[in-house]
């Protein structure tokens, strides 16, 4: 039933768009309840249809669909079109995006309750869902780029959702600027694809990779660069911006200024993983460039370890989760670099569930604490908020990779794959991801203990009002907790070690680390048992134990460590001075350069002569010519006669 399916694909993207338009443009008319109903129904329809598509693809084993839905323009042989590529990879992404989005929509009813921008918020998150779906379902670079920019735009709008808050405006500007850097690279990458392949269609590009292998380009005269490496690295720079990899990670922690539901949806579960998805989608290109893969793995490893360390010193509950997101994105990137794309995507999926859960749970805590986010003022919340407590615990266990939970399967697959990889830089990456396990466990359970156990450090007023938020908040928590436990167990055999993604992901035989692992793989139970004798398990356990010792048993020790290791603490507290560096060198430098160019180039030459000059000229002419429109009939008649005589003079007499 191909026709039928195509209609379904179209409705999957249209339903959230329609909801968003109604909530956005007619928000006043439909009211608050109208806005949340119409968007929830839109996303709900989309989610149900996505699940149908997933079932159709995965369980009924349908062939991938690749077709254009609508061609807008053909210019010089290059098609600008909207098309869908639906295979198991995109089907899985669609389910993840729409499911998490649906949960967040429902949760938002509780979280944004009473906010004056209620309708606007729903309109934005629905529009985000639409854009994200367009991105993952695309079959060409053009649409990919549009979706990419659209999700970036909405992320910008939502970080600055509370646009009267100074810090939010700063944060969204920062996100926007940093993403510009990434997008610039991305655009160059796409331009490279167009230049060397002459098309923007995925399938055609992937089919013609042979024609580009071995081609070189001279960017700096005298040095030959492989075209494929250049394209891949440019594309990956785009991914670094969107998926917040070092050094373009700086915007993500600040993005926590936005409302918590979008931190869960956009800045944890979906948008930030767009980069990971894109690289996996481009695997036929990345596979051909060992240099690019090496670059990817090193960047990922740095992000995984060093961003995790920063999580240790944060006191804002959302920021801890944000740094943990950065670190986990690093894990996914490492997997990509090691050619274990499937494991990276698998981790993307499990992470989407447990990280959305952790964020929403943090949001639940924040609601209960009357928008207090400092963990030093929490503690002992367990007995006041049992559902939030138990779901948070599940989320944390999944995050640290406790055997059996979702994160365990995906993360262990990555770690083992990296261990086998022979790509330059994989040795360092292996060390980083192993170290990361300990760090992850430490900061996760530091947060867990500080928030839910120990002394109640909040003031009396807050304590007396502590209670579990309404069902719209807790139901999404529960619904997200379920996949956080079981989803890894279900899919590990197929996704990590089976051929789940089929042709969607291409791995060269010499890079196929997951294939090697699969030879020694004996089902999920075997994996759990095996893990008990490997490093990650003991490192995670050590992390939890350390957290317990430091924050439950001897809460005085962290302060002592801080005193003893002042230097280290200071470096971590200042986030390795990257922000400071950016502010001084890039922001300051570009401001200086801008000022220089502005005063000398812009104000004098461009504005003074060209822009204002031409604007003045145009305005001056307009002022003169409008005076010709005197309002007097005889002047008008004269103009006509004059025009006639002019034409006669030119064309008859001449």
């Amino acid at each position: 039933m191909p026709d039928n399916m195509q209609t379904i694909y179209i409705w999957i993207v249209l339903a959230p768009l329609i909801g968003s338009i109604i909530a956005g443009l007619f928000g006043k008319k439909v009211g608050r309840a109208g806005a949340h109903w119409v968007t929830i129904i839109g996303v709900g329809v989309s989610c149900v249809l996505s699940i149908i598509v997933f079932k159709h693809m995965v369980f009924d084993g349908a062939d991938p669909f690749n077709g254009s839905v609508y061609t807008w323009l053909v210019s010089d042989g290059v098609k600008f079109e909207i098309g869908f590529l639906i295979d198991k990879l995109s089907a899985m992404m669609m389910v993840v995006v729409t499911f998490v989005s649906l949960m967040v929509h429902i949760y938002t009813i509780g979280y944004m309750h009473g906010d004056p921008g209620y309708q606007r918020f729903f309109s934005y998150i629905s529009l985000f869902t639409f854009s994200m779906l367009m991105l993952v379902m695309s079959n060409n670079f053009m649409q990919l780029f549009f979706g990419w920019e659209a999700v970036g735009l909405i992320s910008y709008l939502l970080i600055g959702f509370w646009f009267k808050k100074e810090t939010a405006i700063y944060a969204n500007m920062k996100a926007f600027l940093v993403n510009r850097v990434g997008d610039f690279g991305f655009l160059l990458g796409i331009a490279g694809v167009l230049m060397y392949f002459g098309t923007l269609d995925y399938a055609t590009v992937f089919a013609n990779t042979d024609s580009v292998v071995g081609k070189t380009i001279q960017i700096i005269p005298g040095s030959d660069w492989s075209v494929l490496t250049l394209i891949c690295i440019c594309l990956f720079i785009g991914a670094m911006g969107k998926s917040a990899q070092v050094p373009l990670h700086v915007w993500l922690p600040d993005s926590m200024e936005g409302p918590t539901p979008i931190s869960a949806l956009i800045h944890a579960a979906t948008m930030v993983t767009a980069g990971i998805y894109m690289v996996a989608r481009m695997s036929p290109l990345f596979e051909l460039s060992e240099t690019a893969l090496s670059f990817v793995i090193v960047i990922g490893a740095i992000t995984a370890l060093f961003m995790g360390l920063l999580g240790l010193v944060q006191n804002d509950i959302k920021r801890v989760v944000a740094y943990s997101t950065l670190s986990q994105l690093g894990y996914m990137t490492v997997a990509l670099g090691a050619s274990a794309y499937a494991a990276g995507i698998f981790h993307l999926m499990t992470h989407a569930f447990f990280k959305a859960l952790l964020f929403l749970a943090a949001g639940s805590v924040i609601i209960a604490m009357h928008h207090e986010q400092d963990m030093r003022k929490m503690g002992g919340l367990r007995k006041y908020m049992p559902i939030t407590w138990i779901t948070s615990l599940i989320g944390s266990l999944a995050l640290i990779g406790a055997p059996g939970f979702a994160g365990f399967f995906s993360k262990d697959s990555i770690i083992e794959a990296v261990g086998l990889s022979t790509i330059p830089g994989s040795g360092f990456a292996y060390f980083a991801v192993l170290g990361g396990v300990f760090v992850t466990a430490l900061y996760s359970f530091r947060m867990y203990f500080l928030v839910f156990h120990g002394k109640e450090r909040m003031d009396e007023h807050t304590r007396s009002h502590l209670h579990e938020p309404s069902w719209v908040v807790t139901v999404p928590l529960i619904l997200l907790a379920i996949p956080s436990v079981i989803i890894g167990f279900i899919f590990v055999s197929d996704m990590s070690f089976g051929n789940f993604f089929g042709d969607a992901i291409k791995v060269l035989p010499q890079h196929d680390v997951l294939g090697q692992l699969a030879e020694n793989y004996h089902g999920p139970f075997g994996m759990i048992l095996h893990s008990l004798v490997t490093w990650p398990f003991w490192l995670a356990l050590a992390g939890v134990a350390t957290a317990w010792f430091l924050y439950m048993k001897r809460p005085d020790i962290p302060g002592m460590i801080q005193d003893k290791l002042k230097f280290v603490h200071k470096v971590l507290d200042n986030k390795y001075y990257v922000d400071r560096f950016n502010e001084i060198v890039f922001a300051g430098g570009s401001r200086f350069l801008g000022k220089l160019l502005w005063q000398n180039g812009d104000v004098r030459v461009i504005d003074g002569v060209i822009i204002n000059g031409s604007a003045k000229t145009v305005g001056w002419i307009a002022g003169i010519v409008r005076r010709l429109q005197t309002g007097y009939l005889y002047n008008y008649a004269f103009a006509m006669i004059f025009g006639l005589l002019f034409l006669l003079g030119v064309f008859v007499l001449a």
Binding site: L25, Q629, L633, L644
Partner: protein, 479 residues
């Protein structure tokens, strides 16, 4: 000499409309003022009837009748359908406006219908006299419509100016026709075309042609025969401006095609040069002076002048594809023009015309949907993708680039449309970034709102799927 009964079949829509208009004229006499809606409904029904008549007898072959003075072909059918639709929309938009100002009279509709008849004759003319007949029927109806608000000084002044200048233009047109008749000895466009090609010294034909072009340029409102446009657009009631700014452009395009392409095709190199001058002057003056306007109706008037310049670009290439592009342009422009003037009607109310740019400040805060519709119209007129106006400009420019040695003209056109983008974008800035001055709620009847929304969505929809309309224009010109 024996009298032959002419074949009236090709002219059935015209004859039907004439009868219906006369019928409405009589019925209207017996309708009380509070039941005036009957006249309105009858007029709309008449338009619907001729629409269906034309649609169901749509022809792909060329038919002549009335001793070859009347022609019916695909182009005429498509253009007529465009005229019906746009006048239908005009009547619909104008209804509330007229009611609020005690102008809800039968005259508006009867004159409007006679104007439609004039346009139909003009579109189907195949003889110099038929052209003149159609033109005068249309013009006389419009003069009267502009003057309809009798106690408005601006309206009377505008009507007076329009009438006098129109008379001069008609005189010039007639003079040109007489010259052409003198050279060729015929009034029939096909014969003229044939004879002109045989004439050895073209001085006199060119002399006549210049006068013809003046007549056409006046009707289109091309510089320097444009002086009436801002004053009439501004002075006339918005309901009448709606009318003037839409369907007659289609008729004027037909007149241009009939006279120059059907009648004087062998002089193409000569009229090409004249049209180039007119086009550049129109795009230049239109876009530049529009910037200095504080009144939206005047601004749109100058914008209309600049669009006429663009419209001429396609025709002057002298290629089939160029004609089709211009036809696409005129149909698209009419749709956008209807929408923008419709927005003025939507926002106006009794005692408030909503025709100053300042009235649009902060529109987004008052009504996001209204602001969004206006945004669509403005961006489309500026030629921003993916709206319809982009395709109109794209199609015309493509043909200009494809023509020999006219690349520079395309560059000039683009520069002027960039200048023009300024005042369209200024509207958007006013709507979205300024604080509202007018705080009254926007009230309008449901039919107006629905029609206007459809109008704006069509500008967007046709921009996303321009293929159908484009193919229609190409087919209409080719047959």
């Amino acid at each position: 000499m024996n009298f032959e009964t002419p074949n009236i079949i090709p002219a059935i829509p015209e004859i039907t409309l004439l009868s219906l208009a006369c019928l409405i004229l009589v019925v209207d006499l017996f309708v009380k003022q509070e039941n005036r809606i009957i006249t309105y409904l009858l007029s709309q029904a008449s338009l619907l009837i001729v629409f269906l008549l034309t649609l169901f007898t749509f022809t792909t072959e060329t038919q002549f009748t009335f001793s070859n003075t009347f022609v019916r072909d695909s182009m005429s059918d498509v253009l007529k359908l465009g005229v019906y639709i746009s006048v239908f929309i005009v009547f619909l938009y104008a209804k509330d406006y007229l009611r609020q100002r005690d102008m809800f009279k039968g005259e508006f509709y009867v004159l409007g219908l006679f104007g439609v008849l004039g346009m139909m004759i003009l579109i189907s003319a195949h003889n110099l006299l038929t052209i003149y007949l159609g033109l005068e029927l249309l013009s006389l109806s419009m003069y009267a419509m502009v003057a309809m608000q009798r106690n408005s000084k601006a309206g009377s002044e505008a009507a007076m100016k329009y009438f006098v200048l129109g008379a001069i233009a008609s005189g010039m047109l007639l003079y040109g026709m007489s010259m052409i008749y003198g050279v060729t000895g015929s009034l029939d466009l096909a014969e003229i075309s044939q004879k002109v090609a045989e004439v050895s010294d073209q001085k006199l034909t060119i002399f006549g042609m210049v006068f013809l072009i003046v007549g056409i340029a006046f009707k289109l409102g091309a510089v320097p025969f444009h002086m009436w446009v801002p004053d009439v657009y501004h002075g006339a009631p918005t309901s009448v401006t709606l009318y003037i700014a839409s369907a007659p452009k289609i008729a004027a395009f037909a007149m241009l095609m009939r006279l120059l392409v059907d009648g004087l095709s062998s002089l193409q190199p000569h009229w090409q040069d004249i049209l180039i001058i007119l086009a550049i002057a129109s795009m230049g003056i239109g876009n530049i002076v529009a910037i200095a306007q504080g009144n939206l109706k005047r601004m749109l008037a100058y914008s209309a002048i600049s669009h006429v310049g663009f419209l001429l670009l396609g025709v002057l290439t002298g290629q089939q594809a160029g004609y089709a592009a211009s036809m696409f342009y005129v149909l698209s422009y009419v749709l956008m023009s209807l929408g923008s003037f419709g927005m003025i009607v939507l926002l106006s109310r009794k005692g408030f015309e909503a025709d100053n740019l300042a009235d649009y400040k902060g529109l987004n805060e008052r009504s996001p949907w209204a602001a969004f519709m206006m945004l669509i119209f403005m961006l489309s007129m500026a030629g921003v993708p993916p709206f319809l106006g982009f395709w109109a400009k794209f199609a015309v420019l493509k043909e200009v680039v494809a023509a020999d040695s006219l690349l520079w003209l395309a560059v000039v056109a683009v520069i002027f449309s960039i200048i023009g983008a300024f005042y369209y974008l200024r509207m958007i800035k006013l709507m979205y970034f300024d604080k509202p001055e007018d705080t009254q709620a926007i009230t309008a009847d449901l039919d107006l709102k629905v029609a206007l929304s459809t109008n704006s969505l069509m500008v967007l929809g046709l921009g996303l799927l321009p293929g159908g309309l484009m193919a229609l224009c190409i087919a209409a010109i080719a047959h």
